[in-house]
Amino acid sequence: MPQRSDLSQRGGEMKRVITGNQAVAYGVILSRVDVVSAYPITPQTTIVEELSELIASGRLKTKFLKVESEHSAMAALIGASTGGVRCFTATSSHGLAYMHEMLHWASGARLPIVMVNVNRAIGPPWNIWSDQSDSVSQRDTGWIQLYCENNQEVLDTIIQAYLIAETVKLPVMVVLDAFVLSHTAEPVEVPSIEEVDAFLPPFCADYAIDTQEPRAYSVITTPDYFMEFRYKIQKAMEEVPEVAKKVDDEFKARFGRGYGSIERYGKDEAEVLLMTSGTVTSTSRIVIKKLMEKGLSVAGVKMKRFRPFPSDEIYEVIQGAKKIAVIDRNLSAGVGGIFSQELRASLYLREQRPPVFGFVSGLGGRDITPELIEEAIQYTIENDRPKDEIVWLGLKR
C-alpha cells in the first residue's frame, strides 16, 4: 500500500502514487466532508476502508455512519444534507441499484450530495468487473453524472463536484471504472488542503434544519404544484454546463488541470470520430494517434459529463465529422448502448446529423483492447451506415 498522505501539511502539491479509490478518499478529505455514510461492496470497499483510517486517525472531524445497507447510506445522507452539512458516499453495482429510490429523493429534495460509483456489472451472472450499466441505469434520477479517465481526474473531479452540486443544488455522481482505476496505482498530484480551501468554500445551505425557524421538508404536494418542482430541477440541470465550465476554468487556473465536459483530441477536421467515456478513452488515445500516423482522418471525443447530456458541447466538437463511432461499456437490452442512443437523440433536430455507429463492448469487465478499438474505427470507415443497430465488439458467437 502506498504511504498515506499527511493531508494537513502545508505547502504545495505532493505527488503520490495512489489507487483510484485512494484518490477518492483524498478528494473527500480535502473537500472537508462533514458526514460520510457508506456500506461496503466490491470494488468500492477500499474507499470506505481508507476513509475509516483517515477519520479514525483523529485529524478530521468527519462523522462516518457505518450503516446496514446502501439504501440507508443514502437515506442517512439525505437527513444529514437536510441538516446543512457536506456529505459523501460511495458504492457500486447492486449497491447503487438498491439506492435507486433514494437517488430520486436526493435530487427531488435538492440536496448537493456527492457520491462515487465505481462502475461494476449488475448480476446475474455474478460479476464484479467494470461495466457502466449500473450508473447509466440511474440516468433519470436527477443526478449529475461525471465519468473519469484516470486517478488524477478522480481526485480533481470530487473537489469540483462539491462546487457544482452546491451551486446548482443537485447531487453529483462521480464515476470511475472498477479495478482499471479503483485498484490501480498511478502518480497523482495531491493538492494541499489550504489550496482546496481557497477553491472550495464551506457549504452554506439555504434552508438547513433550524428549530428556531421550523420548516416541513419533502412533504406532500398536490398536482397544482408538483410539476413546477420538476421544472425547477430541469432548469437547474440546464445551468450545469455553464457552472461546470466556470468551476473547471477556476480549477485549472489554480491547479493547472482542467477537463471540460467534452474533450476532443486527434486530427482537426477529422472525418471519423470515436466517442468514449471512462478509461477506454486512454486506450483510444493511443489507437487514434497510431491511425493518424497511418494517415487516417480520425479523432477522439471523450465524454466526461453524461448528465445533463452535453448536447451543445458535443455538437460543437463534431462539426465537419462524416461519421461517429461510439463505444458503450453498457447495454440497455432491447435498444443498445446508452451513450450512442443518447447521442443519436441529441443530433436528431440538428442540421448536421452524421450517422452514429453504436458499438457495445467490454461488458462485465472484458478488456476493450487497442485491437477492438481499431476494429470499431475500421468498421466505421468501411461502412456508410452501421449494418446493425448494435455492433458487438469482441463477442464470442
Binding site: 437515506a75 446543512g84 406532500i220 404536494t221
Partner: protein, 295 residues
Amino acid sequence: MERMRKIEIPIAENLGHGHLACAGCGAAVAMRLTLKALGEKTVMVFPASCWSIVPGFWPYSSYKITAVHAGFVTAAATASGVRAALDVRGENDTLVAVWAGDGGTFDIGIQALSGAAERNEDILYICNDNEGYMNTGTQRSSATPLMAWTTTTPVTQPKENPKKDIMAIMADHHIPYAATATIAYPEDLIRKLEKAKVIRGTRFIHLFSPCPPGWKMASEQTIKISRLAVRSRIFPLYEIENGRVYTIQEESRVVPVKGYLKLQGRFSHLSEKDIEITQKNVDDAWERLLRRARC
C-alpha cells in the same frame, strides 16, 4: 410493577389546527400529546404513513416543529443522518425523533431501525401502531393481530399469524430505553416521553393508537378501546431499560379480551372459540412478559 403517576401535561400546542386526520383518530391525540412532551427543540422525521397526509399539503403544515418527511424504508436511517448533521453543528441538545407507523417499523423499516439501534444512534423512535397499513386502506401488516380482518385478510381467510413482538426485538438490541404507551393513559405517555427525551442513545416508544375506519369501530370509542387494550392485557404498559430491567405499569382493573374484541368490526367474525384462543394467547403473552420482567 409500579403504580401509574399523575403528572402535569404541558400547555404548549405543537400540532396546529386544520390537520386531516379522520374523526376519532387515536394517532392525532397521540401526536398532540407527543409534541407537547417533546417541545419545540425537536426535529421529527416521519416516513410514509398516515402522517404523510395528516399535517396537510405544501405549502401548509399543521406541525409547529421541524418535520422531515422521509422514504418509507428509511425513518431510522434518515434520523441517524439528521443526528449526525446536528452533532457536526454542535447542536447535541436538539432532539431527533421519529414518528413511524407499524408498517414503517415492524415491516419495511425494520432493517434501518435495527441498524440504528445496533449503532445506538441518539434518536427517539416512536412507532405509532394502528395494526395495519391504514393510510393505504387497511391492509395487513406484521403488527395486525391474529385472526383480524383487513382488506388483504378477508373474513374467509383472516390473519393467520400472530402479531410480531416488536418490544422483545428492540429489547434484544440492548437499547437504553423502550416503553409501551397509549392515549387512554396520557400522563403515562407524557412521563415516558419526558423520560426518553433526556436519555442518550436509541429510545423506542411503542405507541398503540386505535384507528376507527381500519378497526371498524365507532369514532367516539377511541379512548375506551385504548383503555380496554391495556386492561385486557392485549397491550400492557411497561418499560425496558438496557434490554434487561422491566417495569410494568400496574392496571389492576383487568377485564377479559372479549369486551375489547366486541367493540371492533375487524373481529366481528370471531367465534366463541376464536375469542377463547385470543384470551389464551393474551394470557400466555402476559406470563411471558412477567417471566422476562423477573429475569
